[in-house]
Amino acid sequence: MNTPEELQYSSDHEWVRIDNSLVRIGITDFAQDALGDVVYVELPELGLVVSANSAFAEIESTKSVSDVFAPVSGEVVEINDVLEDRPELVNEDPYGEGWVCAIKVSEESELDGLMDAKSYEAFVLEGSKED
């Protein structure tokens, strides 16, 4: 499992790259592997105002549809529309070209609730033990 040190993580398996008040988000390597081959991404609309933990995008694999939850509250200011034609980038490069969107954060304190790489790996490991 690839878990870059410089990112923050949510318990819904999204990663967050913090750049001042803007955060770029995507799904983690663990999440893309669990989903299997991604065949469709329903991106949020630009300008959409989301609240933390609400479902605001969908990632559909050959076997199922999964919601993407907003890790923080804010406004969607960028979307990765390359995914409309190349949804497989979510599998191939989840932390790079497979990013989903960028949100302008409205409640910066919510960032404190995210996990660092080490905590996220422990969280995933704990989850897999329960199976």
């Binding site: 398996h13 999440a31 669990a34 299997g36 081959d37 065949v39 469709y40 329903e42 969908e58 559909e60 050959t62 076997k63 549809v65 999964s66 409309e84 034609d85 949804p87 599998n91 989850g127 329960e130 199976d131």
Partner: protein, 377 residues
């Protein structure tokens, strides 16, 4: 994201240790825990269309109908024909036939493959239908034949254009088999029934062998690097593109063979003397047509249309439902099957599918999506 907890009654394939060794991802299907994928559903699907894929189909039920002493096989066949509109009587030894079991209302109890041996019949049927099938088989043929559930046997499917090269390297004579025929072969010293058949639309073989030998047989086939291990995900997308029905989706006890566009399984002899269960309704539908019919559906967007989506006209009138759907890797587009009212079932008819509250524009598509590549020698 978490996997459902394993029920105590979950059955495992005899190939389970091999699947785990090869890093399969698992899913529950018809009471079995089976591989969903190995390298990835899309790459497995494409490998099968271009080369060869190996599928564990050991969950399928295998039932032998063995005539009781003094009873001719022809009597057993006659009894079997009372619950299927297929013709089994004209099936020669070494032949396979796709058949539907029907109920008194004309609905489909199961779809299965009948193999005609010299002295008995073998039925390969859906894992989820073993119990109801045994009930109707016992009732129809039980007084003339033993209904033996062969849990000592396991089954592999080797599918794809290179399957014949791989398998004939181990048993040269398999190359002479024609589509829907079978024979007995020794493969690496293992006695197998090998049929030229499958569920992908491609050329290929299905191999039945004793469960105790199945891991060795699978390892032998996988030692050829043109063969990709494949899971249920690829099996489903391959059969969907090939326009083949899946029990519980396109067919069930409330759907007739005519609605399912499987009238081709009812040959003339059976239509002239319709002695099978449900004949009254089925024959009336053959004459008068049906209200709803099975169709292919292609999405006009990249968004897959899945099982359960309601089909509507452009004016919003509900005219059908999707029964299977997903991404078709060889079509590089979403593909689906379902049922539509007859007047909206012509190819190119524009419709909308309701997918999680959103309208997805789609069209009726002729079946199959990908032409079949069967070899008839």
């Amino acid at each position: 994201m978490s996997e459902p907890s394993k029920s105590r009654t979950t059955k495992l394939s005899p190939l389970d240790p091999l699947h785990r060794e090869r890093g399969a991802k698992f899913a529950s299907f018809a009471g079995f825990e089976l591989p969903m994928s190995f390298d990835g559903t899309i790459s497995e699907h494409l490998a099968t269309r271009s080369q060869a894929g190996l599928f564990d189909v050991s969950h399928m039920g295998i039932i032998d109908l063995v005539p009781k002493s003094g009873c001719p096989l022809s009597t057993v066949i006659e009894c079997l024909e009372s619950i299927t509109p297929a013709s089994i009587g004209d099936l020669g030894a070494g032949g396979l036939r796709y058949a539907l079991l029907t109920n008194d209302q004309g609905g489909i109890v199961d779809d299965l493959i009948v193999s005609r041996y010299q002295d008995h019949l073998r039925l390969v049927l859906n894992a989820s239908r073993v119990e109801p099938d045994i009930r109707v088989l016992e009732a129809a043929v039980g007084s003339h034949a033993q209904v033996n559930h062969r849990e000592d046997l396991a089954q592999l499917a080797l599918q794809g254009p290179k399957a014949v090269d791989v398998l004939s390297g181990l048993a040269p004579m398999v190359a002479n088999l024609s589509f829907m025929n079978f024979g007995e072969f020794s493969i690496d010293g293992i006695d197998c029934s090998v049929s030229r058949s499958g569920y992908t639309g491609e050329d290929g073989f299905e191999l039945v062998a004793p469960s105790i030998n199945i891991v060795r047989l699978a390892e032998k086939l996988l030692s050829d690097n043109t063969v990709a291990p494949c899971g249920l995900g690829a099996r489903d997308s391959l059969r969907l593109e090939a326009g083949l029905c899946l029990y519980g989706h396109e067919i069930d006890e409330t759907i007739t063979p005519i609605e399912a566009r499987l009238a081709w399984t009812i040959p003339r002899r059976r239509r002239e003397h319709p002695t099978f269960a449900g004949a009254e309704l089925i024959m009336a539908q053959l004459s008068n047509g049906v209200q709803r019919t099975r169709v292919g559906i292609s999405s006009l967007t990249r968004r897959p249309i899945r099982d359960g989506a309601i089909l509507r006209t452009e004016q919003g009138l509900e005219i059908g439902v999707v029964t299977s759907g997903g991404f078709g890797p060889s079509c590089d587009a979403p593909v689906a099957m379902g049922y539509a009212e007859r007047s909206f079932s012509q190819p190119e008819t524009s419709l909308a599918a309701e997918v999680r509250g959103k309208e997805v524009p789609c069209r009726i598509h002729s079946l199959p999506f990908i032409p079949h590549n069967y070899i008839r020698n």
